[in-house]
Symmetry: C2
Subunit: 199 residues, 2 copies
Amino acid sequence: MVKTPTGNPVGRPREFDEAAVLEAAMEAFWRKGYEATSLADLTECTRLNKASLYRVFGDKHQLFMAALKNYADIEFRETTAVVSDAASPLTNIRAVVKKICDDAGSDKGCMMINSMVELAPHDSEVKALLQKFGEQRLQAIQAMIVQAQAADEIRAELDPQKLAVSLMIAFAGSAAMVKGFMPDTQIVDNLENLIDSWT
Amino acid sequence: MVKTPTGNPVGRPREFDEAAVLEAAMEAFWRKGYEATSLADLTECTRLNKASLYRVFGDKHQLFMAALKNYADIEFRETTAVVSDAASPLTNIRAVVKKICDDAGSDKGCMMINSMVELAPHDSEVKALLQKFGEQRLQAIQAMIVQAQAADEIRAELDPQKLAVSLMIAFAGSAAMVKGFMPDTQIVDNLENLIDSWT
DNA sequence: TTTATTTGTAACCATTCGGTTTAAAATTAG
DNA sequence: CTAATTTTAAACCGAATGGTTACAAATAAA
Protein backbone atom coordinates (compact mmCIF):
# COMPACT_ATOMS: atom_id res chain seq x y z
CA MET A 1 0.00 0.00 0.00
CA VAL A 2 1.27 3.49 -0.91
CA LYS A 3 1.85 5.91 1.93
CA THR A 4 0.29 9.29 1.29
CA PRO A 5 1.59 12.70 2.46
CA THR A 6 -0.44 12.32 5.61
CA GLY A 7 0.81 8.80 6.21
CA ASN A 8 -2.62 7.24 5.68
CA PRO A 9 -3.01 4.33 3.29
CA VAL A 10 -4.90 4.90 0.06
CA GLY A 11 -7.34 2.34 -1.25
CA ARG A 12 -9.72 -0.09 0.28
CA PRO A 13 -8.50 -1.39 3.62
CA ARG A 14 -7.63 -5.04 4.01
CA GLU A 15 -10.19 -7.29 5.58
CA PHE A 16 -7.63 -9.94 6.50
CA ASP A 17 -4.60 -10.34 8.68
CA GLU A 18 -1.63 -11.47 6.60
CA ALA A 19 -0.03 -13.45 9.42
CA ALA A 20 -3.27 -15.32 10.14
CA VAL A 21 -3.64 -16.16 6.46
CA LEU A 22 -0.09 -17.47 6.33
CA GLU A 23 -0.72 -19.54 9.46
CA ALA A 24 -3.83 -21.13 7.95
CA ALA A 25 -2.04 -21.90 4.69
CA MET A 26 0.87 -23.37 6.64
CA GLU A 27 -1.51 -25.67 8.50
CA ALA A 28 -3.01 -26.91 5.23
CA PHE A 29 0.36 -27.53 3.60
CA TRP A 30 1.61 -29.24 6.78
CA ARG A 31 -1.33 -31.66 6.83
CA LYS A 32 -1.75 -32.40 3.15
CA GLY A 33 1.59 -31.67 1.53
CA TYR A 34 2.23 -29.36 -1.42
CA GLU A 35 0.79 -31.27 -4.40
CA ALA A 36 -2.34 -32.42 -2.63
CA THR A 37 -3.21 -28.93 -1.36
CA SER A 38 -5.19 -27.14 -4.04
CA LEU A 39 -5.90 -23.46 -4.44
CA ALA A 40 -9.48 -24.27 -3.54
CA ASP A 41 -8.22 -25.75 -0.24
CA LEU A 42 -6.20 -22.61 0.39
CA THR A 43 -9.03 -20.18 -0.33
CA GLU A 44 -11.22 -22.22 1.98
CA CYS A 45 -8.89 -22.40 4.95
CA THR A 46 -7.71 -18.79 4.61
CA ARG A 47 -11.15 -17.45 3.66
CA LEU A 48 -9.36 -15.32 1.15
CA ASN A 49 -10.18 -15.51 -2.52
CA LYS A 50 -7.60 -16.47 -5.09
CA ALA A 51 -6.92 -13.00 -6.45
CA SER A 52 -6.10 -11.76 -2.95
CA LEU A 53 -3.87 -14.74 -2.26
CA TYR A 54 -1.99 -14.08 -5.50
CA ARG A 55 -1.76 -10.39 -4.77
CA VAL A 56 -0.14 -10.94 -1.39
CA PHE A 57 1.96 -14.06 -1.95
CA GLY A 58 2.56 -14.26 -5.67
CA ASP A 59 1.72 -17.85 -6.53
CA LYS A 60 1.22 -21.26 -4.93
CA HIS A 61 4.91 -22.06 -4.72
CA GLN A 62 5.79 -18.75 -3.12
CA LEU A 63 2.99 -19.17 -0.63
CA PHE A 64 4.35 -22.60 0.18
CA MET A 65 7.85 -21.25 0.70
CA ALA A 66 6.54 -18.50 2.97
CA ALA A 67 4.57 -21.11 4.93
CA LEU A 68 7.61 -23.35 5.27
CA LYS A 69 9.75 -20.48 6.53
CA ASN A 70 6.98 -19.57 8.94
CA TYR A 71 6.83 -23.13 10.22
CA ALA A 72 10.59 -23.33 10.70
CA ASP A 73 10.75 -19.97 12.45
CA ILE A 74 7.97 -20.87 14.86
CA GLU A 75 9.45 -24.28 15.56
CA PHE A 76 12.91 -22.86 16.16
CA ARG A 77 11.64 -20.06 18.37
CA GLU A 78 9.42 -22.32 20.44
CA THR A 79 12.07 -25.00 20.74
CA THR A 80 14.65 -22.45 21.84
CA ALA A 81 12.21 -21.18 24.44
CA VAL A 82 12.25 -24.51 26.28
CA VAL A 83 16.03 -24.30 26.69
CA SER A 84 15.82 -22.63 30.08
CA ASP A 85 17.85 -24.65 32.55
CA ALA A 86 21.28 -23.06 32.76
CA ALA A 87 22.51 -25.68 35.19
CA SER A 88 21.60 -28.80 33.23
CA PRO A 89 22.17 -28.88 29.46
CA LEU A 90 20.93 -32.47 29.41
CA THR A 91 17.61 -31.37 30.83
CA ASN A 92 17.45 -28.85 28.01
CA ILE A 93 18.05 -31.54 25.42
CA ARG A 94 15.29 -33.63 26.93
CA ALA A 95 12.97 -30.62 26.91
CA VAL A 96 13.73 -30.05 23.23
CA VAL A 97 12.97 -33.69 22.48
CA LYS A 98 9.68 -33.46 24.34
CA LYS A 99 8.75 -30.25 22.57
CA ILE A 100 9.42 -31.64 19.12
CA CYS A 101 7.49 -34.82 19.90
CA ASP A 102 4.52 -32.82 21.09
CA ASP A 103 4.51 -30.75 17.89
CA ALA A 104 4.65 -33.77 15.61
CA GLY A 105 1.88 -35.50 17.51
CA SER A 106 -1.06 -37.35 16.01
CA ASP A 107 -0.34 -37.64 12.32
CA LYS A 108 0.84 -34.28 11.07
CA GLY A 109 4.50 -35.12 11.39
CA CYS A 110 6.95 -32.29 10.79
CA MET A 111 6.44 -29.92 7.86
CA MET A 112 10.16 -29.82 7.17
CA ILE A 113 10.46 -33.60 6.97
CA ASN A 114 7.22 -33.86 5.01
CA SER A 115 8.58 -31.36 2.50
CA MET A 116 11.96 -33.03 2.34
CA VAL A 117 10.39 -36.33 1.38
CA GLU A 118 7.86 -34.88 -1.05
CA LEU A 119 9.77 -32.08 -2.71
CA ALA A 120 13.48 -31.88 -2.02
CA PRO A 121 14.67 -34.20 -4.82
CA HIS A 122 12.80 -32.14 -7.43
CA ASP A 123 12.67 -28.59 -6.06
CA SER A 124 16.07 -27.06 -5.45
CA GLU A 125 14.64 -24.00 -3.73
CA VAL A 126 12.91 -26.14 -1.13
CA LYS A 127 16.01 -28.27 -0.77
CA ALA A 128 18.23 -25.25 -0.18
CA LEU A 129 15.88 -23.86 2.45
CA LEU A 130 15.64 -27.19 4.25
CA GLN A 131 19.42 -27.51 4.20
CA LYS A 132 19.72 -24.12 5.86
CA PHE A 133 17.20 -25.07 8.53
CA GLY A 134 18.78 -28.49 9.01
CA GLU A 135 22.28 -27.14 9.49
CA GLN A 136 20.99 -24.50 11.88
CA ARG A 137 19.39 -27.19 14.02
CA LEU A 138 22.38 -29.48 13.87
CA GLN A 139 24.56 -26.66 15.16
CA ALA A 140 22.13 -25.89 17.96
CA ILE A 141 21.84 -29.51 19.05
CA GLN A 142 25.58 -30.02 18.84
CA ALA A 143 26.19 -26.94 20.99
CA MET A 144 23.83 -28.29 23.62
CA ILE A 145 25.60 -31.64 23.57
CA VAL A 146 28.98 -29.94 24.01
CA GLN A 147 27.58 -28.08 27.00
CA ALA A 148 26.22 -31.29 28.48
CA GLN A 149 29.64 -32.88 28.06
CA ALA A 150 31.28 -29.93 29.78
CA ALA A 151 28.77 -30.40 32.60
CA ASP A 152 29.65 -34.10 32.82
CA GLU A 153 26.09 -35.08 31.85
CA ILE A 154 27.10 -36.73 28.59
CA ARG A 155 30.18 -38.91 28.22
CA ALA A 156 33.14 -36.82 27.07
CA GLU A 157 34.58 -39.44 24.72
CA LEU A 158 31.56 -39.33 22.41
CA ASP A 159 31.77 -37.18 19.28
CA PRO A 160 29.17 -34.40 19.71
CA GLN A 161 28.71 -34.00 15.97
CA LYS A 162 27.86 -37.66 15.58
CA LEU A 163 25.45 -37.52 18.47
CA ALA A 164 23.74 -34.50 16.96
CA VAL A 165 23.43 -36.29 13.62
CA SER A 166 21.96 -39.37 15.27
CA LEU A 167 19.40 -37.27 17.10
CA MET A 168 18.45 -35.44 13.89
CA ILE A 169 18.00 -38.72 12.05
CA ALA A 170 15.94 -40.08 14.92
CA PHE A 171 13.75 -36.97 14.77
CA ALA A 172 13.28 -37.41 11.06
CA GLY A 173 12.43 -41.07 11.48
CA SER A 174 10.03 -40.27 14.27
CA ALA A 175 8.32 -37.61 12.17
CA ALA A 176 7.83 -40.15 9.39
CA MET A 177 6.72 -43.05 11.59
CA VAL A 178 4.23 -41.00 13.55
CA LYS A 179 2.26 -40.59 10.31
CA GLY A 180 2.05 -44.33 9.84
CA PHE A 181 1.46 -46.98 12.43
CA MET A 182 3.97 -46.60 15.22
CA PRO A 183 2.48 -45.56 18.57
CA ASP A 184 3.65 -42.21 20.01
CA THR A 185 4.76 -43.95 23.19
CA GLN A 186 7.17 -46.17 21.29
CA ILE A 187 8.58 -43.19 19.44
CA VAL A 188 9.07 -41.08 22.56
CA ASP A 189 10.58 -44.06 24.34
CA ASN A 190 13.09 -44.55 21.56
CA LEU A 191 14.23 -40.94 21.67
CA GLU A 192 14.62 -41.08 25.43
CA ASN A 193 16.61 -44.28 25.19
CA LEU A 194 18.86 -42.69 22.60
CA ILE A 195 19.70 -39.85 24.95
CA ASP A 196 20.07 -42.19 27.89
CA SER A 197 22.67 -44.08 25.87
CA TRP A 198 24.84 -40.97 25.85
CA THR A 199 25.02 -40.68 29.63
CA MET B 1 -8.48 -63.38 -21.67
CA VAL B 2 -10.98 -66.16 -22.25
CA LYS B 3 -9.61 -69.65 -22.69
CA THR B 4 -11.07 -71.36 -25.75
CA PRO B 5 -11.82 -75.08 -26.13
CA THR B 6 -8.33 -75.51 -27.57
CA GLY B 7 -6.76 -73.53 -24.75
CA ASN B 8 -5.63 -70.75 -27.09
CA PRO B 9 -6.40 -67.18 -26.19
CA VAL B 10 -8.89 -65.29 -28.33
CA GLY B 11 -8.25 -61.67 -29.30
CA ARG B 12 -5.27 -59.57 -30.10
CA PRO B 13 -2.16 -60.64 -28.18
CA ARG B 14 -0.67 -58.36 -25.60
CA GLU B 15 2.32 -56.31 -26.66
CA PHE B 16 3.50 -55.69 -23.11
CA ASP B 17 4.80 -57.60 -20.13
CA GLU B 18 2.66 -56.91 -17.07
CA ALA B 19 5.51 -57.26 -14.62
CA ALA B 20 7.70 -54.85 -16.57
CA VAL B 21 4.87 -52.33 -16.69
CA LEU B 22 4.37 -52.60 -12.96
CA GLU B 23 8.10 -52.17 -12.40
CA ALA B 24 8.18 -49.00 -14.49
CA ALA B 25 5.17 -47.57 -12.72
CA MET B 26 6.71 -48.43 -9.37
CA GLU B 27 9.85 -46.53 -10.31
CA ALA B 28 7.84 -43.45 -11.23
CA PHE B 29 5.78 -43.51 -8.03
CA TRP B 30 8.94 -44.11 -5.99
CA ARG B 31 10.68 -41.08 -7.46
CA LYS B 32 7.81 -38.61 -7.68
CA GLY B 33 5.23 -39.74 -5.14
CA TYR B 34 1.57 -40.45 -5.79
CA GLU B 35 0.07 -36.99 -6.34
CA ALA B 36 2.88 -35.68 -8.49
CA THR B 37 2.85 -38.70 -10.80
CA SER B 38 0.29 -38.12 -13.55
CA LEU B 39 -1.31 -40.60 -15.89
CA ALA B 40 0.73 -38.98 -18.64
CA ASP B 41 3.88 -39.81 -16.67
CA LEU B 42 2.70 -43.39 -16.29
CA THR B 43 1.83 -43.89 -19.96
CA GLU B 44 5.24 -42.49 -20.85
CA CYS B 45 7.35 -44.62 -18.53
CA THR B 46 5.32 -47.79 -19.16
CA ARG B 47 4.85 -47.09 -22.88
CA LEU B 48 1.33 -48.32 -22.43
CA ASN B 49 -1.65 -46.17 -23.29
CA LYS B 50 -4.19 -45.20 -20.67
CA ALA B 51 -6.92 -47.61 -21.73
CA SER B 52 -4.52 -50.50 -21.38
CA LEU B 53 -3.32 -49.35 -17.99
CA TYR B 54 -6.93 -49.10 -16.81
CA ARG B 55 -7.79 -52.45 -18.23
CA VAL B 56 -4.98 -54.23 -16.37
CA PHE B 57 -4.77 -52.29 -13.12
CA GLY B 58 -8.16 -50.64 -12.69
CA ASP B 59 -7.30 -47.04 -11.83
CA LYS B 60 -4.42 -44.89 -10.62
CA HIS B 61 -4.89 -45.76 -6.98
CA GLN B 62 -4.99 -49.49 -7.64
CA LEU B 63 -1.90 -49.23 -9.80
CA PHE B 64 -0.19 -47.40 -6.97
CA MET B 65 -1.18 -50.09 -4.48
CA ALA B 66 0.11 -52.81 -6.78
CA ALA B 67 3.36 -50.89 -7.22
CA LEU B 68 3.77 -50.43 -3.47
CA LYS B 69 3.22 -54.14 -2.84
CA ASN B 70 5.69 -54.92 -5.60
CA TYR B 71 8.25 -52.61 -4.03
CA ALA B 72 7.79 -54.12 -0.59
CA ASP B 73 7.98 -57.68 -1.90
CA ILE B 74 11.16 -56.98 -3.84
CA GLU B 75 12.74 -55.18 -0.91
CA PHE B 76 11.84 -57.94 1.52
CA ARG B 77 13.01 -60.68 -0.79
CA GLU B 78 16.30 -58.99 -1.60
CA THR B 79 16.94 -58.04 2.00
CA THR B 80 16.26 -61.59 3.13
CA ALA B 81 18.67 -62.83 0.51
CA VAL B 82 21.60 -61.07 2.16
CA VAL B 83 20.92 -62.90 5.41
CA SER B 84 23.31 -65.71 4.64
CA ASP B 85 25.76 -66.06 7.47
CA ALA B 86 24.45 -68.76 9.76
CA ALA B 87 27.32 -68.30 12.17
CA SER B 88 27.04 -64.56 12.74
CA PRO B 89 23.60 -62.97 13.10
CA LEU B 90 25.28 -59.62 13.68
CA THR B 91 26.94 -59.84 10.29
CA ASN B 92 23.52 -60.46 8.83
CA ILE B 93 22.13 -57.36 10.50
CA ARG B 94 24.99 -55.33 9.11
CA ALA B 95 24.37 -56.78 5.67
CA VAL B 96 20.71 -55.82 5.90
CA VAL B 97 21.67 -52.28 6.89
CA LYS B 98 24.05 -52.06 3.96
CA LYS B 99 21.46 -53.42 1.56
CA ILE B 100 18.79 -50.96 2.65
CA CYS B 101 21.22 -48.05 2.45
CA ASP B 102 22.24 -49.03 -1.07
CA ASP B 103 18.61 -49.18 -2.17
CA ALA B 104 17.73 -45.78 -0.76
CA GLY B 105 20.79 -44.22 -2.33
CA SER B 106 20.95 -40.87 -4.06
CA ASP B 107 17.60 -39.23 -3.51
CA LYS B 108 14.89 -41.79 -4.10
CA GLY B 109 14.57 -42.71 -0.47
CA CYS B 110 12.31 -45.64 0.35
CA MET B 111 8.92 -45.95 -1.34
CA MET B 112 7.33 -47.16 1.86
CA ILE B 113 8.55 -44.21 3.88
CA ASN B 114 7.75 -41.81 1.03
CA SER B 115 4.21 -43.17 0.97
CA MET B 116 3.87 -43.07 4.72
CA VAL B 117 4.70 -39.40 4.81
CA GLU B 118 2.63 -38.45 1.78
CA LEU B 119 -0.42 -40.65 2.09
CA ALA B 120 -0.83 -42.57 5.31
CA PRO B 121 -2.71 -39.90 7.30
CA HIS B 122 -5.35 -39.61 4.54
CA ASP B 123 -5.50 -42.99 2.86
CA SER B 124 -6.43 -45.81 5.20
CA GLU B 125 -5.74 -48.49 2.60
CA VAL B 126 -2.16 -47.33 2.18
CA LYS B 127 -1.80 -47.00 5.93
CA ALA B 128 -3.01 -50.56 6.54
CA LEU B 129 -0.63 -51.95 3.94
CA LEU B 130 2.32 -50.04 5.37
CA GLN B 131 1.43 -51.25 8.84
CA LYS B 132 1.48 -54.82 7.63
CA PHE B 133 4.88 -54.32 5.97
CA GLY B 134 6.24 -52.45 8.97
CA GLU B 135 5.25 -55.10 11.46
CA GLN B 136 6.64 -57.80 9.21
CA ARG B 137 10.00 -56.04 9.15
CA LEU B 138 10.00 -55.32 12.87
CA GLN B 139 9.49 -59.02 13.52
CA ALA B 140 12.28 -59.99 11.16
CA ILE B 141 14.73 -57.49 12.64
CA GLN B 142 13.81 -58.48 16.15
CA ALA B 143 14.33 -62.14 15.36
CA MET B 144 17.79 -61.38 14.03
CA ILE B 145 18.62 -59.40 17.15
CA VAL B 146 17.48 -62.28 19.37
CA GLN B 147 19.75 -64.59 17.40
CA ALA B 148 22.67 -62.20 17.77
CA GLN B 149 22.05 -62.08 21.50
CA ALA B 150 21.99 -65.87 21.66
CA ALA B 151 25.31 -65.83 19.81
CA ASP B 152 26.73 -63.31 22.30
CA GLU B 153 27.16 -60.71 19.56
CA ILE B 154 24.67 -58.28 21.07
CA ARG B 155 24.39 -57.59 24.79
CA ALA B 156 21.82 -59.86 26.38
CA GLU B 157 20.44 -57.26 28.76
CA LEU B 158 19.11 -55.08 25.96
CA ASP B 159 15.45 -55.42 24.99
CA PRO B 160 15.37 -56.80 21.41
CA GLN B 161 12.04 -55.21 20.67
CA LYS B 162 13.34 -51.79 21.60
CA LEU B 163 16.46 -52.30 19.52
CA ALA B 164 14.37 -53.33 16.55
CA VAL B 165 12.20 -50.22 16.95
CA SER B 166 15.25 -47.97 17.15
CA LEU B 167 16.68 -49.48 13.98
CA MET B 168 13.37 -49.07 12.14
CA ILE B 169 13.14 -45.44 13.18
CA ALA B 170 16.73 -44.88 12.14
CA PHE B 171 15.95 -46.45 8.75
CA ALA B 172 12.95 -44.17 8.34
CA GLY B 173 14.97 -41.12 9.32
CA SER B 174 17.73 -42.13 6.95
CA ALA B 175 15.27 -42.59 4.11
CA ALA B 176 13.93 -39.10 4.71
CA MET B 177 17.27 -37.37 5.18
CA VAL B 178 18.86 -38.93 2.14
CA LYS B 179 16.34 -36.99 0.05
CA GLY B 180 17.43 -33.70 1.59
CA PHE B 181 20.91 -32.57 2.43
CA MET B 182 22.60 -35.14 4.61
CA PRO B 183 25.51 -36.94 2.96
CA ASP B 184 25.18 -40.71 2.51
CA THR B 185 28.39 -41.24 4.44
CA GLN B 186 26.96 -39.54 7.51
CA ILE B 187 23.81 -41.62 7.29
CA VAL B 188 25.62 -44.94 6.89
CA ASP B 189 27.98 -43.99 9.70
CA ASN B 190 25.07 -43.28 12.01
CA LEU B 191 23.46 -46.67 11.34
CA GLU B 192 26.73 -48.45 11.92
CA ASN B 193 27.29 -46.57 15.17
CA LEU B 194 23.81 -47.53 16.29
CA ILE B 195 24.54 -51.19 15.82
CA ASP B 196 27.98 -50.85 17.37
CA SER B 197 26.29 -49.43 20.45
CA TRP B 198 24.48 -52.75 20.93
CA THR B 199 27.67 -54.79 21.14
C1' DT C 1 -17.11 16.07 -6.22
C1' DT C 2 -13.36 13.77 -8.95
C1' DT C 3 -9.11 11.15 -9.11
C1' DA C 4 -6.07 7.64 -7.64
C1' DT C 5 -5.20 3.49 -5.34
C1' DT C 6 -6.01 -0.80 -3.12
C1' DT C 7 -8.96 -4.67 -1.99
C1' DG C 8 -12.96 -7.93 -2.57
C1' DT C 9 -15.81 -10.50 -5.76
C1' DA C 10 -16.77 -13.36 -9.32
C1' DA C 11 -16.10 -14.71 -13.62
C1' DC C 12 -12.91 -16.20 -16.98
C1' DC C 13 -8.97 -18.93 -19.04
C1' DA C 14 -5.90 -22.56 -21.00
C1' DT C 15 -4.14 -26.57 -19.49
C1' DT C 16 -4.06 -30.70 -17.02
C1' DC C 17 -6.25 -34.22 -14.58
C1' DG C 18 -8.15 -39.12 -14.13
C1' DG C 19 -11.18 -41.70 -16.52
C1' DT C 20 -14.14 -43.38 -20.77
C1' DT C 21 -15.38 -44.42 -25.47
C1' DT C 22 -14.84 -45.51 -30.32
C1' DA C 23 -12.86 -47.80 -34.01
C1' DA C 24 -9.23 -50.35 -36.08
C1' DA C 25 -6.03 -54.20 -35.53
C1' DA C 26 -4.90 -58.88 -34.25
C1' DT C 27 -5.97 -63.16 -32.90
C1' DT C 28 -9.03 -67.92 -32.42
C1' DA C 29 -12.98 -70.76 -33.56
C1' DG C 30 -16.42 -72.54 -36.46
C1' DC D 1 -15.27 -66.27 -44.75
C1' DT D 2 -17.91 -64.51 -40.52
C1' DA D 3 -18.34 -63.91 -35.63
C1' DA D 4 -16.40 -63.24 -31.16
C1' DT D 5 -12.94 -61.51 -28.26
C1' DT D 6 -9.06 -58.89 -26.75
C1' DT D 7 -5.69 -55.23 -27.43
C1' DT D 8 -3.91 -50.92 -29.44
C1' DA D 9 -4.43 -46.21 -30.71
C1' DA D 10 -6.44 -42.03 -30.44
C1' DA D 11 -9.95 -39.22 -29.47
C1' DC D 12 -13.20 -37.70 -26.19
C1' DC D 13 -15.03 -36.13 -21.59
C1' DG D 14 -16.27 -33.43 -17.39
C1' DA D 15 -14.01 -31.72 -13.68
C1' DA D 16 -10.16 -29.78 -11.48
C1' DT D 17 -5.97 -27.12 -11.64
C1' DG D 18 -3.14 -22.80 -11.10
C1' DG D 19 -3.44 -18.45 -12.66
C1' DT D 20 -5.69 -13.93 -14.75
C1' DT D 21 -9.01 -10.32 -15.65
C1' DA D 22 -12.82 -7.10 -15.20
C1' DC D 23 -15.36 -4.53 -12.25
C1' DA D 24 -17.42 -2.94 -8.01
C1' DA D 25 -16.37 -1.43 -3.32
C1' DA D 26 -13.79 1.21 0.03
C1' DT D 27 -10.64 4.32 1.28
C1' DA D 28 -7.46 9.05 1.10
C1' DA D 29 -6.28 13.29 -1.17
C1' DA D 30 -7.18 17.39 -3.63
